[in-house]
């Protein structure tokens, strides 16, 4: 089943879209042409701000007031969508074209039962009575593999897990057997394993219904493993499109090439020289436990559902000098908690030994320890004080740990900036004047100013686009080469960690499952959970060629 057999379900031709802003029009989409045939899955790949979502809104005819459609047509089932009246569109939405959203947590109304939210579609589009719709909806939920549909119907979003919610959303999208479904990053907000399951669900449903699908994602690997054809979009332009195999194996466009190259591939090791495991460990973590939450003095309620107590349970691990120790696990597995404990942001029980010096509490963390152990956070814009210049921010470590001051210090800062490949002039700028990648570089620079022995990287790349991520990783590797720094590299991206880590620690619900050398992380004797994780990860691109 390919597009050239029948007339395409959706065909976008020469479509351009502008957003009118105070600073003049912003060209969101430029001359987009793309078509989806019946039963076809077209992947739309692009980084944040590439305009992939804008295209989705255009197709759904859900554009903000300042949108201006410059040229082109959007034809659905042969007829021009752009010409349709509001009410006609409302009749099409959810019935003939439906959509699955990125985050089920926010795309479901928190105050309405799941049942109501799916059945209202059936009532609206299939003209079913409340009763019928309810029964039908229940069947649908069963169909998307929810174990207890009857109960699920009566539950409220906060009472269901992320996976369950996304299943409900998908069931809603498929409810009226639409001809076209747009999937907008449907798995990005989910944990590795769950997203795997959701992906499988999507594939089976698609097989079964043969609905034409537009699958939007930033994750090439994912798209490669799901779509028939793929369009790569960059800065509002489709730079390349074609069969998955061809594009990923023989990319023509430089941007595509760059993109593909940037995708972490476990088979390509960046770790560099192995550390000396015989040497005495740089840092040891012994039976470190962290318990969150205390009994409040008076009763008080929280609006958040199930705010369960995450933490660490008796974690043990050791890091060699210059080693890159990867820590992987789903959200809430306690990765960051450990990082916080080691940097004195969390109270902890147990013992941390650094270069043999025992530490039992935050109080024990000496200045030298602070200097030797640095941390970098996930969101650079949150970790840099918005009201200080880059120069001020970078000056702190020098004031704290070094003798530098005045001119000498300013020189040091310039040097540091250049080291992280930023122009020295940035010292005068404020964080909000920098891009995400640049900010993260500043954060890295701040961490390295004191030439630490151990840097804890807490998901430092997950907020960045692949290409930016690649360059940041590159930088980290260089810095390690130069200073022989050890990294505690916390991430949920297995492919990435397999690229750069010497050893990988797997965490689950606050427990450390196991630590294994990266090379035999795939070995069969690994813990069940570890294997589960690995299976869940989409197959890297290079191997997806037919």
């Amino acid at each position: 089943m390919t597009s050239d057999t029948a007339a395409p379900v959706l065909s976008v031709e020469g479509y351009s879209l502008d957003y009118l802003t105070a600073k003049g029009p912003f060209h969101a989409l430029k001359n987009i042409s793309l078509s989806i045939g019946a039963g076809e899955i077209v992947g739309l790949v692009g980084e944040s701000g590439s305009g992939k979502s804008s295209l989705a809104w255009s197709i759904m005819r859900y554009l903000p007031g300042n949108a201006h459609e410059v040229s082109g047509t959007i034809r659905f089932d042969g007829s021009d969508l752009m010409a349709r009246s509001n009410s006609e569109i409302e009749a099409i939405r959810g019935k003939r074209i439906s959509m699955v959203f990125q985050d089920p947590a926010t795309s479901l109304n928190p105050t309405l039962s799941l049942g109501r939210q799916i059945s209202e579609v059936l009532i609206r589009h299939q003209g079913l009575s409340k009763k019928q719709a309810w029964a039908e909806a229940e069947a649908r939920l069963a169909h998307v593999g929810l174990k207890t549909p009857a109960q699920m119907m009566h539950r409220y979003p906060h009472e269901a897990s992320g996976g369950e919610k996304q299943r409900v959303v998908i069931a809603t999208a498929f409810a009226c057997n639409p001809e076209l479904i747009i999937f907008d990053e449907p798995t990005t907000a989910l944990d590795v394993i769950t997203s795997r399951q959701i992906l499988e669900l999507f594939q089976s449903l698609q097989q079964e219904t043969g609905v034409a699908s537009l699958y939007i994602s930033h994750d090439l690997a994912l798209v490669a493993s799901t779509a028939h054809r793929v369009s790569v979009i960059n800065r509002g332009e489709i730079v390349e499109q074609g069969k998955v195999g061809e594009i990923f194996t023989r990319p023509q466009d430089p941007y595509t090439k760059k993109l593909i190259a940037a995708v972490p591939d476990p088979s390509v090791r960046l770790a560099g020289s192995e550390p000396d495991y015989a040497a005495k460990p740089l840092a040891e973590v012994e039976n470190v436990s962290v318990i969150y939450g205390r009994k409040p003095f008076f009763g008080r309620f929280s609006k958040k559902a199930g705010n369960h107590v995450t933490g660490n349970r008796a974690v043990n691990l050791a890091i060699q000098p210059g080693e890159i120790l990867g820590i992987v696990g789903e959200s809430g597995s306690g990765k960051s908690t450990l990082a916080k404990a080691m940097t004195g942001l969390n109270k902890f029980e147990g013992e941390i030994r650094f270069e043999g010096r025992p530490i039992h509490s935050i109080a024990d963390m000496s200045d030298s320890y602070r200097r030797d152990v640095q941390i970098i956070f996930q969101h650079p814009d949150a970790s840099l004080n918005p009201r200080k210049t880059i120069g001020d921010i970078l000056s702190r470590p020098y004031r704290l740990y070094t003798e530098y001051s005045g001119k000498a210090m300013r020189d040091e800062i310039s040097r540091l900036l250049e080291q992280v490949k930023l122009p020295a002039s940035y010292a005068a700028r404020y964080p909000h004047q920098l891009s995400g990648g640049e900010k993260q570089r500043v954060a890295i620079a701040r961490a390295f100013a004191s030439q630490p022995k151990l840097v804890i990287c807490d998901e430092i790349t997950s907020a960045l686009d692949v290409s930016v991520q690649a360059s940041v990783i590159e930088l980290l590797m260089e810095l390690r080469e130069e200073f022989g720094t050890a990294y505690l590299f916390i991430t949920h991206d297995l492919n990435l960690v397999r690229q750069i880590a010497h050893r990988i620690a797997v965490m689950y619900r606050g427990d450390l499952i196991e630590i294994a050398p990266t090379r035999d992380i795939t070995a069969p004797q690994r813990a069940a959970y570890t294997r589960q994780l690995l299976e869940a990860v989409p197959v890297p691109v290079a191997r997806s060629a037919p």
Binding site: M60, E90, A91, I92, R93, G94, F101, L112, R300, G306
Partner: protein, 315 residues
């Protein structure tokens, strides 16, 4: 919601009232007024005063006086007024009932106006309606009750004779006349609340209308009417409950002024009379009752909220 939560919540109310009672008692202790003199008037002889002080236990240490007082309060006995010699409790409760009537009337009036305004403004965001509403709210929020009250009296009652002037008619005595007498004071109290609440409703509504789930609802093909009434309204109005409950504190304050100006014999006016007459037992009782009212209202609001908003869970 769990029983343990409820007990905690009630415990909290008692804690609050304990603090309040301490504060009030402390204050009234410092008040430069001799209860005995207040009671017997300035022509009393020293012997008479001494006798009365003894009998009123004014010579006991302060904390025993406090305990004695609080103990009485728990048995519903707030002591006797120094001014009239009547028992304070019943007088205050009766007054409270009138104030509550007024307050209830005001809140209904307020909701009746504020909610539609807020929604309208949110839906027509940036349009002329929106501007108008926010203008209203700015003016409303900036007019002290005594100003609006006085102007209302001057024009509505005296100049144009649209409404009866000051005074209070029990509904039991003459229902419609009673209501007519309530309109102006209630309106005056509502003005500031309308301004505040309509603003809140608007911003809540605006936020809700920008959420993913509203977008999702639209993209499910629901008509804008279905989305507004079925999805948005409920979520936007829920927080208003809490806001209104918190505003009750302000409302009780406003009641004081309004009752004084409109000659409504409610707890506010009682308090003013008591304060001006240095009638300690009445002041203590009045403040305590007001604080209690505030707590209870907020308690009810929380319960209501939890019943309406399924997200909320109690620990």
């Amino acid at each position: 919601m769990s029983a343990s939560y409820l007990t905690k919540r009630v415990a909290l109310i008692f804690y609050t009232l304990l603090i309040v009672s301490l504060i009030v008692f402390a204050m009234t202790q410092i008040l430069p007024a001799d209860a005995a003199v207040m009671m017997l008037g300035e022509n009393a002889t020293e012997e008479a005063l001494a006798a009365l002080r003894e009998q009123m236990g004014l010579n006991n240490p302060v904390w025993t006086q406090y305990l004695h007082w609080i103990a009485g309060v728990f048995q519903g006995d707030f002591g006797t007024s120094l001014r009239t010699g009547l028992s304070v409790g019943p007088v205050m409760v009766e007054a409270l009932s009138r104030s509550l009537l007024l307050a209830l009337f005001s809140i209904c009036l307020m909701l009746f106006i504020a909610v539609p305004l807020g929604i309208l403004a949110a839906v027509r965001r940036g349009k002329i309606v929106d501007m108008a509403v926010s203008l209203i709210s700015y003016v409303g929020v900036s007019l002290p009750e005594f100003v609006t009250a006085t102007l209302a009296l001057l024009f509505l009652a005296d100049r144009w004779k649209l409404l009866p002037p000051t005074g209070y008619v029990p509904l039991t005595e003459n229902f419609w006349d009673g209501v007519a007498h309530l309109i102006m004071p209630a309106a005056v109290i509502s003005i500031i609340l309308v301004a505040h609440v309509s603003r809140m409703v608007r911003s809540e509504m605006v936020d809700v209308l920008h959420t993913d789930y509203i977008r999702a609802a639209r993209l499910k093909g629901l008509s804008s009417r279905q989305v507004l009434w079925g999805h948005a309204l409920r979520n936007a109005l829920l927080p208003t409950i809490t806001i209104v409950a918190l505003d009750v504190g302000y409302l009780l304050g406003g009641v004081i002024v309004v009752e004084e100006i409109f000659a409504i014999p409610g707890i506010g006016r009682q308090l003013i009379i008591a304060i001006q007459a240095r009638d300690l037992p009445s002041i203590q009782a009045g403040v305590l009752i007001m604080a209690a009212t505030y707590c209870v209202v907020n308690f009810i609001a929380d319960i209501l909220y939890s019943l309406l908003d399924k997200r909320i869970q109690y620990d």
